[in-house]
Amino acid sequence: MNLSSSILKRILHAPDNRGGLGGTQRRRIGIAAAAFFALFPLLPFVDNYWIDVGFYVGIYALLGLSLNIVLGEVGLFDLGHTAFYAIGAYVTAILNTRFHVPILLLLPVSAIAAGLFAWLVTAPIIHLKGDYLCIVTIGIGEIVRLSMINNPLGLTGGPNGINGIDNPHFFIPILSSRQFYYLLWAIIGISAFLLTRLQRSRVGRAWNYIREDETAAKALGVNVRHYKLSAFVLGAALAGVAGNIYASKQMSISPESFTFMESSLLFCIVLLGGLGSIPGSVIGAFVVTVFPEIFRPFAKYRLMFFGLALLVMMIFKPAGILPRLRDSGERLRKALEGKKTGKSRPNAVPVVETDRAEQKLLLCIENLGLSFGGVTAVSGMELEVDKGRITALIGPNGAGKTTVFNIITGIYKPMSGRILLRGKDISSKQPYQIAEEGVARTFQNIRIFPSLTCLENVLCGQHSRGKAGFFASMLRLPSQRAEESRMLEKAQACLARVGLSDSADSLAAALPYGKRRYLEIARALAAEPELIVLDEPSSGLNDAETVELAALLKSLVREGLTIFLIEHDMNLVDMVSDHVVVMQSGKKIAEGPMCDMRQDPKVIEAYLGSDED
């Protein structure tokens, strides 16, 4: 049992995950909170002690935001996040005390160092799933802390740490508690602003897709490895920034500040605030910093009270205090348009122009073979899918149909044979590359992204058709805006195509089962594919719904799409397929039009067993 994934599910599927407050109400509270943080140090009864408490709320808010990228957005359980914080602090301390590099100059240096370190240590382990990754991150955290204690090359000062770190200099020297407070909160403001932009971009959504369903994300063109690594690097860089400011404020650092307890506290902040929620991370930081301070007079019982408070919160608000609100389509569009209130350009969705005339053959499978251990799933499989037609793959259970699909979409690598898409061998490519080549799929047991809106689900298809990266998304470059609005339009068109326009802004989890199928199809359509691969699209649908589905599939083909499907429902196969391939025990046993297949003795035998004996 994978503990981390079940925790993730529990939180994301909690009933209050959409949050109790509406968007505008929340925005008002946000403004009030920002005003509070801005004015707090100026209030008459606030002395330096409370300003410092506010400063540490800030440090934890920044760390919370940084862990939130990894844990909240991508769902990677990182229990060693303090390592990156420590790297930032130590880089600052070492370079400042030895070479007297100014602190603020070291701010980007610390960020880069921490990011680079994160890349180095997570690149070899990023493929690990759930709990395994979690355990390795604990290891990373401890190794970093112990290295600091062991004083490598006499750099870290061993258990005593490093002292005598300068104060930052930003036109004037930053010395007082108040100045530090404003410096830090300015940085938090900028980070939160940029992260919000990232959340509303192709990059942020890709992270969420991975968290929701890695396999589906992969099959729809998300380069999972790249986005997981980038989340770690970005999160680490932000933690490095926090380390830099912490070191200069404390003027001395020692390994005691970077213990496992600290990592778990950060974990608490993100879970408490709400996964993937930026205001949540700030609130979480506020709670874990201010509560223990308030409970200090209780001395020995302080942490018990604190634990109790956390427990109560988690019982009443399992999804966190301020769970992430998903943006409605309108909101996304508004955010894109920014100040120029111009209406959306009626940019006609271009129909994929395929070079229809040139070749008839789209997909060709030659001598395909794959076995798991000693069990042969597919061997010597031959198959051709013609352009502009519906090809169905049928066969009894265990015939290897889904395996063939998984090989086509790159989830499995074949042991022998080739897969040619438009005459090009794609068998060694990664799933996301195959999606980019124009193959989109749906899954046998529906894989949608439950806690994202339907629109966001469909936008996943468009992921492979865009290219805006981190900087373009954070700076909202014109090219990125144009791309985003094109994506939005396409996604909305695809939703409309399957008749789900009305549900665009509701969570996918709220859809009834039958509609989820359509959502999956819309998502695949949004990838602008040439070939769409459907794994048992009719399972779970009633007769009326099946007829409806058949009509949809046929109309899609008329628009120039090619469909390849696995199906058990012979009615549907009858209704839609131009060509049928029958599989048994990993081999093709017959092919032709459906009416011929019904007569074929080998097919009858495969389904009903032979009447000999």
Partner: protein, 388 residues
């Protein structure tokens, strides 16, 4: 909307609590002299912190019974640093905000460091009581920081005096393990021996390091035996100490073995074996049980009366001494001004006594003539004060 209400109520409670506590923090009032104790009341060393709190309370009661300071009573304010550098900075800021006259604290060295920086910035006298790292006073010029506990290397000084004057050793061997701590103690011992060497009273026949984590020290032991030492001081840690004494005795080296305060504990006895370990000596800060000053006896009886036991570690007593030092300095300065107090701590402390004896400070803020005692392992493997 049950959840909303619950969170609302919780929120209101928090805000209310927050403001009550804010209001609770007043400034220095006229009737008492406020002195803060920064200690790990919670966290990993909470036990030490609690004992420090009790010790300081006992000392304050004794001081107040004797008339307080400048005609006012002493009031102890506790700030908790949870033995963690971040909390320590907050605790220091809290003590500063409460406008106390001076601060006692803190326990751990790397926890004291950020706090000392804040006190320094705010011109407030602070007196450490468990922070023994050398660099606290030697790396940075600090005007307002002092400590009543000895520096890590102070026991080396004690060893030097003891070896020559009490034991009359003519040939001394000093061994360390190149760690900052052990080398510091060894160097300090060497420094203490220099005047005796020039007088011709003694000589150092062996001064070298072993490699920690090794199991076989026969080369070092053979070399050591050839120098025929009268006494052998090892300043490193107990795992090596245990193996060293075992291997040395097996090789026929039978001069007295003295360990630094990291060399001898229950595990040392286990590693070396009781037959060999018994009789090994150690330079250490005395437990209050083994201190015999006047103030110590008053302190012990009041502590025993209030808490039914005595502090089980040497450090809490230094916290009480820090209070005696601060009160003494305020008394000598005649006012609550930080500069005057710091000045008095450096120059006017003649006659100021604490639980562990005279409280005199060097220019850098270290206590002068820190009392150490020689302990030895008795035949049952227990540590007792050595009677020479």
């Amino acid at each position: 909307m049950k959840f909303k209400k619950t969170s609302l109520v919780l929120g209101i409670c928090c805000v209310a609590l927050f403001f009550t506590l804010l209001v609770g923090c007043g400034g220095q009032s006229g009737k008492t002299v406020k002195i803060a104790l920064q200690a790990p009341i919670t966290g990993d060393y909470a036990y030490e912190g609690q004992m420090a709190k009790q010790s300081v309370e006992v000392a304050a009661e004794l001081i107040n019974k004797a008339g307080g300071v400048l005609g006012k009573q002493v009031e102890v304010v506790i700030v908790d640093d949870a033995s963690n550098p971040k909390d320590s900075a907050l605790a220091a800021q809290k003590a500063v905000s409460q406008k106390v006259a001076a601060v006692i604290g803190s326990y751990g060295s790397s926890v004291t460091e950020p706090a000392a920086d804040i006190y320094e910035k705010n011109k407030m006298v602070s007196v450490g009581y468990g922070c023994t790292a050398v660099r606290l006073t030697m790396d940075k010029e600090r005007t307002y920081f002092f400590r009543t506990c000895g520096r890590d290397d102070a026991q080396g000084l004690f060893f030097g005096k003891y070896a020559v004057e009490t034991m009359g050793a003519k040939r001394i061997a000093i061994m360390h393990d190149n760690s900052t701590f052990a080398k510091g103690v060894a160097d300090e011992a060497m420094k203490a021996l220099e005047p005796y060497i020039t007088e011709g009273k003694t000589e150092v026949v062996y001064f070298d390091a072993i490699t920690p984590k090794e199991k076989d020290f026969s080369a070092a032991v053979t070399k050591l035996r050839e120098t025929k030492p009268d006494v052998w001081y090892f300043t490193g840690y107990y795992p090596e100490a245990g193996l060293l004494i075992r291997q040395a005795r097996d090789a026929g080296l039978d001069c007295p073995f003295i360990g630094g305060n990291a060399a001898i504990n229950d595990d040392f006895v286990k590693i070396a074996g009781l037959d060999v370990a018994a009789g090994a000596l150690m330079t250490q800060e005395p437990l209050v049980t083994d201190v015999t000053t006047d103030i110590a006896s008053q302190f012990k009886s009041l502590y025993q009366e209030k808490f039914k036991e005595l502090p089980s570690s040497p450090w809490p007593v230094y916290a009480a001494d820090a209070l005696y030092a601060i009160v003494g300095a305020i008394d000598k300065a005649g006012k609550l001004d930080s500069d005057a107090i710091a000045e008095a701590m450096r120059t006017k402390m003649d006659g100021v006594q604490g639980v562990t004896g005279a409280l005199l400070f060097s220019d850098r803020g270290d206590r002068r003539d820190v009392p150490y005692k020689m302990y030895n392992v008795d035949p049952e493997g227990k540590l007792v004060v050595s009677e020479f």
